[in-house]
Structures are given as C-alpha cells and as structure tokens.
C-alpha cells in the first residue's frame, strides 16, 4: 500500500514537473508565407538552435500553400505571420487591423522573366498585348504596380474591360505556363529564376528583369501580427503581454537570421533540408534539393544583407523605405490613402534590439 503511494507520488511529481516545463514555454504559431525552404532559414535556425526556447517561446512554424498568411493570422489560427508589404497595407486599408513589426528582407526579390526570343527589351514599352504569369493571393501586387507605372491596364483590374496586359494566374510552378502560355512569368530571384534555368532556359536564353531595378522596390518578407494579438494583456495565459511576446519572437528570429546568413552551408544542411521535403526541389536539371536550397540561401542572404541590415539594424523598417513603398502603392492606385500610423509598430522591435527607431540615420 505504502509502496504504491510512493510510486504514485513520484509519478504525480514527474508529470507535474513535465507539465510546468511545458507551461513555461509560451506556444506561438508563426505562419510562413510559403512551404518550408531557405526563404525562411532564419526562423528554422531560431527554432532548431533553441533561440526561440531561450526566449521562453515554443514556436510552431506553419507552412502555407497559395493562401494569404494575413487571412490565417486574422482568423487567429496563427499569432504572427510573414508576408509582403503591399499585401499587408492593402489588407490594412480594407479594414483588417494588421500591424508591421519587423522587416526581414530589405530588398525586393521579385522579377519578371522573358525568353530572349520574345524580343522584350524594355518592360514598359514591350508589355502591351503580352501575357504575364502571376501568382494569386496577394503576390500579384509587384506586377500590378509595374503595369500601372507603365500606364497599362491588366486583367487583374476588375474595372478594366479591355486590358492591355493579360495576367494569367497559375499555382506557382512556372513550368505550367512558361514559356508556352505567357511571354513573361513572375519569378523570385531566390526560387523560380533557378527553376526556370533548370527547365533549360538559363541566363543565355532568358532576360531576368528585377522589378527593384525598374523602380518597383516593394519590400517583401516581414513579420506582422494583428492589433488583437499586440494588445493582449495576458498572451495565452503566459503573464506576458502581446507586445512582450512579439519582442521575444523578433529577438530570437533576428538571432536566427544572423546565424543563418553567416553559416549558410550548415543552415541548409541541418536546418532547411531536413524540414522541407518535396517543396525544396528545383526543376529539371537543377532539381536536386540541396543544390537548389544552397543557391536559394545565397540569394536570400542578398535580400537580408541590404539596406538597414548593413548598418547593423537588422529587422528594422527604415522609414524612408517604408515611405517609398507607400508612395509607390499610392501612385499606382493600389492604396487610396496613406496607411494609419498604427499599421507599423516599432515598439516590439525596439524592445527586442534595445535600439530606438528615432536614432536611425
């Protein structure tokens, strides 16, 4: 009888201590913008090397298909998410209370790729009458901004009955439409450009037009959340406010990104490839996942190591860059008014880094 009591007591204590150990970690869901790949290397490193845990967070990285991360975060299925700035600001204008917290990529990696044989030399002049492959779910804005800047209407515009440019939507695999169905196809520097090359259209056969070079430098991967999460007084019963959790998440993520960019080979080997299965492969002759992700990691590092990051302000949304993105979106009529002040919150980033946004030069 007594023996059993002791056993039971030990068991109870063991489960209790296990329980508290798990309770101490705050469960956080971070919605990625796409399937696992080197594009999110910093977050994988932060998770697997324990940076999140060191901040008291138990972070689940949620993959996405072609659905908007904003919808997931808005619905509460994820607490934080990564997305692009155009997507975020449009949602804000339509009344979704999303808040920008940290800017991971400081430069746009969006390109349009055309076969040299199409004779497209100057995007603005040669776009009219062409078909352009775009991805839906808020990933079409850079292309829309380009069309508008060139004074062209497109079939993405529900108010243009005879569009100058035909936008073809397709589910992310460029081989579905390129080069048969469209003359130009959307491609990220870090992913589809290499896939297209793998399909037999390498640099000698295609022109890659970086939209950043065309004056469309819309900022991409950033961390955001909703006002509801941010204003939480007691985040999931953890005793921390939403802002404090956000600050911890940003601190650990930036640590992860810094490590990933400095240790690219190890990151790909240990923290990307084991988590990304089929979606990490390239295409055709460059299908090998390791090769593709190594290349992607190098391209991602270029987007991360730019702008504010080079001044030691990783994750910082430089006000001038933000204003440039806003101005572009407003000039092209994608936004009809300036976003409200609450659309960007520097507080958690400042708490995470100990820097003051006002000090940025």
């Amino acid at each position: 009888m007594r023996k059993w009591t002791v056993v039971l007591a030990v068991l109870a204590m063991a489960t209790a201590s296990l329980g508290t150990a798990q309770q101490n970690l705050i469960k956080v869901n971070l919605q990625l913008k796409w399937f696992p790949q080197a594009q999110f290397a910093g977050f994988f490193v932060a998770k697997e090397r324990g940076f999140f845990r060191a901040q008291g967070l138990d972070v689940t990285l949620l993959p996405a298909g072609d659905q908007s991360p904003i919808q997931v975060v808005q619905s509460g299925a994820a607490d934080f998410g990564t997305t692009w700035i155009a997507d975020l600001l449009v949602a804000r204008e339509r009344g979704i209370p999303v808040v920008h917290l940290a800017q991971i990529f400081q430069r746009s990696g969006f390109t349009l790729v055309a076969l040299k044989s199409t004779g497209i030399k100057d995007l603005c002049k040669d776009l009219k009458g062409k078909s352009v492959g775009v991805w839906p779910s808020g990933n079409e804005y850079p292309a829309v901004a380009l069309f508008r800047k060139c004074g062209l209407t497109s079939s993405l515009d529900p108010r243009a009955a005879n569009p100058d440019v035909k936008a073809v939507s397709y589910p992310f695999d460029p081989s579905l439409v390129f080069p048969d169905k469209v003359q130009l196809v959307s491609a990220m520097t870090y992913n589809e450009v290499n896939q297209i090359a793998g399909l037999g259209y390498d640099e000698s056969k295609v022109d890659v037009f970086k939209l950043a070079d065309e004056g469309i430098n819309l900022l991409e991967d950033l961390i955001f959340t909703t006002e509801r999460v941010l204003n939480e007084r007691n985040f999931k019963g953890s005793g921390l406010t939403g802002r404090q959790v956000a600050a911890r998440l940003i601190r650990a993520s930036l640590q992860g990104w810094d490590w990933a960019v400095k240790n690219q080979a190890e990151t790909v080997e240990k923290y990307v490839l084991p988590f990304c299965g089929n979606t990490c492969k390239g295409s055709g002759s460059r299908a090998d996942a390791k090769g593709h992700q190594t290349w992607q990691m190098a391209e991602i590092a270029k987007l991360y190591n730019a702008g504010a990051t080079t001044k030691g302000w990783a994750g910082f949304l430089a006000p001038a860059d933000f204003q440039a993105s806003v101005k572009l979106l407003r000039d092209q009529g994608i936004l009809t008014k300036d976003p409200p002040r609450q659309a960007v919150d520097y507080g958690p980033w400042e708490e995470a880094t100990g820097k003051k946004a006002a000090d940025y030069k």
Partner: protein, 329 residues
C-alpha cells in the same frame, strides 16, 4: 379541383392583414433609419441603436409572417406568391446591412450589401466577360458534351448487356465520387485555357447522366414491353415509343443536377489556374487581396446564371414531359 376552390375563401372574403403590413413597414423603417443615420459613421453603435435594430428586425419578421400566412390562404398568381420570399430577402439584406454597420465589420472581411451592389454595378463589364468565359465557354460547352456523351453511352449500355456488366458498375461508382478533385490534374494536363475546365465539367456531368438515363431506359413496365412485342415493334421502335419517353423524367433529373455540377466544376477548376478571366479566377484573385465586395459580386452573377440555367432546364422538362405524373394536378 372544384371542391378545392370552394374550400378556399376568395381574397375579398378575407380582410388584408393590416397589422402585418404595418409591422413590415415599421420594421423596415426602423432598420432604414439606423442605416441612414450610421451611413458615414465609423464608430461602434451603442446599445440603444442595437436594440433599435433588434426591434426593427422583430417587427418586420412578425409582419412578414402575417403577410405570408394571409397570402398562403388566398389563391394567387406566381408574382403575388413571390411577395413573402421577396420580403424575407429585403429583411435579411437590411438587417445584415444594419448589423455590419453597427459593429463596424471591416469591408475586407464582410462587405455590406449596399457596397456589394455598388461594386457589382461598377465592375459589371468585367464580370460579364468573366461570366462568358466561365459559363458559356467552360460550363455550357462541357455540359453539352458531357450530357450528349452521357445519353449516347446510356443508349449503348442499355442495348448491349456486356456493356451493362462491364462498364456500368464503374459509371455508378464514378458518379458518386467528387470528380472535381480531378481539377488540378486536368488543368496541369490540358493547360490553363478554357478547354481544361470544360473537360472537368464534361466528366462531372457525364456519369450521373449515364446512370440516370440507363435507369430510365431499362426500368420499363414489363406490360408495356409485352404490348410492344405483341405489336411486333422492332428494337428501334421500342426505343422511340417506349424506352426514351420513359427515360425522359430520369434524364431531366440528371440534366438539372448537371447544371449545378457544371457551375461548380468550372468555377473550382479556375482556382487551379486560369488565363486571366473567369468568375473563379476573379473570386480567387480578389479573395486573396481582401476584395470581398468583388468576390460577392461574382458570386451573385454566378448564382443568378446558375438559377436561370436550372430554370431553363426545368421549363424544358415541363414542356417535354408534361404528361408525367409529377406535373399532373
């Protein structure tokens, strides 16, 4: 027939339900009053205003119920018969509009009905082009092909026993699985243009048509068959005078079911890739950018066309199978 008529009082014999009419008027007025007063406001409504909405809804609902009861009791034409349904629709729209404004639900989540109708009008040209692509090119072409092949196949299957034994079980099985799951495969195989969606539609409507038509062609009264044989009617004559007429009600069931399947197949097919046009394309693109006023507009267009199409087939059915027991009064 005569007995029924006598049993029902004529409209003149029953007084109009003035209380009900007044309640409808009052309820609609209260809801409209709130919407009007909150038109440009962007703050949440107070408890008083919410109670006003509730009172308006309750009054109008009570009134609609009274009016509907009255109209059900008197024998009237189809237009008057539509009044209760119309009033219900107006009530729902007004209440939704009032609630969305009272709680300041962002347009990026649920747009107000007025906003949807304004958008519908503003983007009508593009939506009509989209509808042409989705309905005429994809759904209707696929429907004609699928139904045509379906009827032809059923004729063959009913004639040749080896087809009935070898093919029909698969058709039965296929007609109960969601063919729309094939959409991504077909879009990848046949490309993003409209034929891939037409193929999805054709396959989706094909199997129900085969199964239903076959049943109609074979579930023939043995007495009728005996009669045909005693007239020495040939195979073709049996089909012409007995089997096909007998199958018509079955075929029309499948055809009506097919209109809905065709609209679903074409719209969902476009979710997996489209060439810049189509209702499904529009819905997907705009849902991704929180343009739900346009999404709802596209849904309205699709619904109206879907209902009209169904109605057309139902009208044809009444013209061609008016003799059938289900239409006899």
């Amino acid at each position: 027939m005569e007995a029924l008529k006598v049993g029902r009082p004529s409209p003149a014999a029953r007084p109009l339900p003035w209380l009900g009419v007044a309640a409808v008027g009052l309820g609609f007025a209260l809801l409209a009053l709130f919407i009007w007063s909150w038109w440009d406001r962007s703050d949440l409504a107070g408890t008083g205003q919410k109670l006003l909405i509730l009172a308006g809804f309750a009054a109008a609902a009570y009134g609609v119920a009274r009016v509907a009861n009255f109209l059900a009791a008197v024998r009237t034409g189809p237009l008057v018969g539509f009044i209760p349904a119309g009033l219900t629709l107006a009530l729902v729209l007004l209440t939704v509009e009032a609630l969305l404004r009272a709680y300041q639900v962002p347009a990026g989540l649920i747009p107000t009905p007025t906003r949807v109708f304004a958008t519908l009008w503003a983007v009508r040209d593009v939506l009509l082009q989209d509808a042409y692509q989705t309905v005429v090119l994809e759904a209707f072409t696929g429907y004609l092909v699928g139904c045509g092949l379906g009827v032809a196949t059923a004729l063959l299957v009913s004639r040749f026993v080896f087809l009935e034994r070898g093919f029909l079980p698969y058709a039965t099985a296929f007609s109960s699985i969601p063919i729309v799951a094939l959409a991504p495969v077909l879009v990848k195989m046949m490309g993003l243009e409209w034929p891939s969606k037409a193929a999805i539609v054709a396959i989706t409507v094909f199997f129900p048509v085969v199964v239903n038509t076959f049943r109609g062609l074979t579930e023939v009264s043995p007495l009728s068959l005996d009669l045909m044989r005693s007239y020495a009617a040939g195979e073709a004559q049996q089909y012409r005078w007995l089997r096909v007429p007998n199958a018509l009600p079955f075929i029309f069931n499948a055809l009506k079911l097919g209109t809905t399947l065709a609209m679903i197949g074409s719209i969902v097919g476009e979710f997996f890739g489209a060439n810049g046009q189509g209702l499904g394309f529009r819905i997907q693109i705009e849902a991704g950018r929180f343009g739900f006023d346009i999404v709802w507009s596209a849904i309205i267009v699709a619904s109206v066309i879907g209902i009209a199409w169904y109605g057309l087939v139902a009208w044809l059915e009444r013209r061609l199978t008016g003799w059938h027991v289900s239409f006899r009064e």
